[in-house]
Symmetry: C2
Subunit: 331 residues, 2 copies
DNA sequence: TTGTACGCGTTATCAC
DNA sequence: GTGATAACGCGTACAA
């Protein structure tokens, strides 16, 4: 409510002096400082971040944007926490948006962020060639990609070794003797999907297992598609004896189908999912998964963003984190 | 990047005219309008929300704040989605913060929001007497409380009938023949905890079941406390045959304890939780819960906030939503 | 050491 | 119908 002007009047000094007190400039004599601070307290002064942002073009907004597909997806919620904690530690606030894997929504929010003069943006791009992200990056706005990479755009990036995760998951299944492994993957326009698919194929190749194309299905990362695609796979004349499902929500969906069909896990079908869940242990059965260090992905991304804000000219960096197999009872 | 000034120069008009074109004022001749719009396109003009906000004291920031304890809690994630969807529909952006049930963090973020001149704030207050919220509301900032109410502060409020939810849950357990029902509740400073406790007590009273104080434990809404308290309860010389756990995370924790102790559900212990989970069906066993309409809570809150922004003088409204028993296999 | 004055990008109120 | 111009609250170069 109270502005610099009002504080200055009360302290009988100029706004410049008040500003100096606030900005810890040492060029102010202790007595004046005291008077000003008194006035600041009495009026309960709060600086306007808006005015400050308007004045200072640079990276002093102490505000960053985060765009994720869906905050209700525990994987993204975990990333969001990582980003938020790192942001809070640096006293940055967060503009959070859900894009729903919808390019229009993403574009809308990207515009909002530009228009809000945020200091930088963290997001998993919609796909490889995400035009909106390219445009934004072209304006000089610091952008850090997480989870997914972009084909032609060089930005800071925090990703997980998806190929390795998938390779390990499928190898694990193969080691258990499965030869017909169903794959439920995500949209092929996103880099992670392709990497996981390669991991799947490479694992099969290593053991010289023939690829059955009818065992490979692409969903949209959502629960329903997991349910539907698992159903298709299990209805096959020669159904898979194991499923590798490429994200958390689709895994839960697949599990629903399995239960509905009265199948036992892992005797009738084994299943390994991508992404851990806080309650994976409490599921029926406790789920074997490839765990992504989502929290670290978020934290690391925010830290990269802070570095870039401080030094816009530094070379883009890629941080690659390692996934981890968590073997429980579903395999 | 491009400002009104630059557009005006390019179109050879004044900034006032450009502004008029942007604000759909009809007081501009078609030809001029065309020229201006041309310039707008060519420069890729985006209005600065920051400058606009500085100028317009009122509720035109098209930005609202949401403070929740933890976005990783599915209950709050669902509320957040409800708020976000309603905000997006009205073209509002969302400043989202996690308070971690920590008054200091809450205060920090509340200050940020004031300082950002958001149009309004949605939050579940830390407790009944949350000083920071009272201060904020005193500044005239529109505040809508969700989930939890405040003792002395009259704000718009969206809540769920917690007493009823708890009453039904415990009655359900009683109907199944349980007479020793453990209660794992949350912090007693929050209104919902007390209401749920009353529901528990009233249900027992109705059947004239004696209250065993040793069966009532208070946690902090987090998974760990559910685990620990369930363990305490089940280690009692006369352990409960059923558990009523007052939030989702604590329920998952309690479930972990139950499994660890090798107990069968519901034969050895029945359990009913508060808050549904998207994967409650996939848990072992599928969980009986009191479902809160969290998405609607969020949506309704945002709509209330929009109404208040439009008309700051309207009388505060309380919207009370109904919970719903979802009976699955854990009881 | 302190004060004055300008500019950041808008909107809105005046004149013309 | 259009164009100057004054705020909005802040930081800072420059003057005192």
């Amino acid at each position: 409510m109270a502005s610099l002007q009002e504080v200055a009047q009360r302290a009988k000094v100029s706004i410049a002096t008040v500003s100096r007190v606030l900005n810890k400039s040492d060029k102010v004599v202790p007595e004046t400082r005291a008077v000003v601070q008194q006035a600041l307290r009495e009026l309960g002064y709060r600086p306007s971040r808006v005015a400050r942002r308007l004045r200072m073009k640079d990276g002093r907004a102490h505000l960053v944007g985060l765009i994720i597909p869906d905050i209700q997806n525990p994987f993204y919620a975990e990333i969001a926490r990582g980003v938020e904690d790192a942001a809070y530690a640096a006293e940055y606030a967060l503009l959070l948006c859900n894009s729903d894997e919808n390019p229009e929504k993403e574009r809308f929010y990207l515009n909002v962020m530009l228009s809000e003069s945020v200091d930088g943006i963290v997001l998993p791009p919609f796909d490889d060639t995400d035009a909106a992200v390219i445009e934004i990056a072209a304006t000089g706005m610091p952008v850090v990609c997480v989870d997914r990479s972009m084909a032609k755009l060089k930005t800071d990036l925090v990703e997980v070794d998806n190929h390795r995760g998938a390779f390990e998951a499928v190898s694990h299944l193969l080691a258990k003797g499965h030869e017909h492994i169903g794959l439920i993957e995500g949209r092929s326009q996103v880099s992670t999907s392709r990497e996981r698919r390669r991991g799947y194929l490479d694992a099969l190749a290593e053991r010289e297992i023939a690829v059955r194309k009818d065992l490979m299905r692409a969903g949209d990362f959502k629960q329903d598609s997991g349910r539907i695609l698992a159903n298709e796979l299990l209805a096959l004349r020669k159904p898979p004896t194991a499923l590798f499902v490429c994200n958390n929500l689709m895994t839960v969906g697949a599990l629903a189908t399995i239960h509905q069909r009265g199948l036992r896990v892992p005797q009738d079908v084994a299943i390994v999912g991508f992404d851990d869940l806080p309650w994976a242990e409490a599921l029926d059965p406790p789920l074997t998964v490839v765990r992504q260090p989502a929290y670290e992905v978020g934290r690391e991304a925010m830290e990269l963003l802070l570095k870039r804000i401080m030094d816009p000219d530094r070379a883009p960096v890629t941080v690659r984190l390692l996934p981890e197999m968590v073997t429980r009872s579903s395999t």
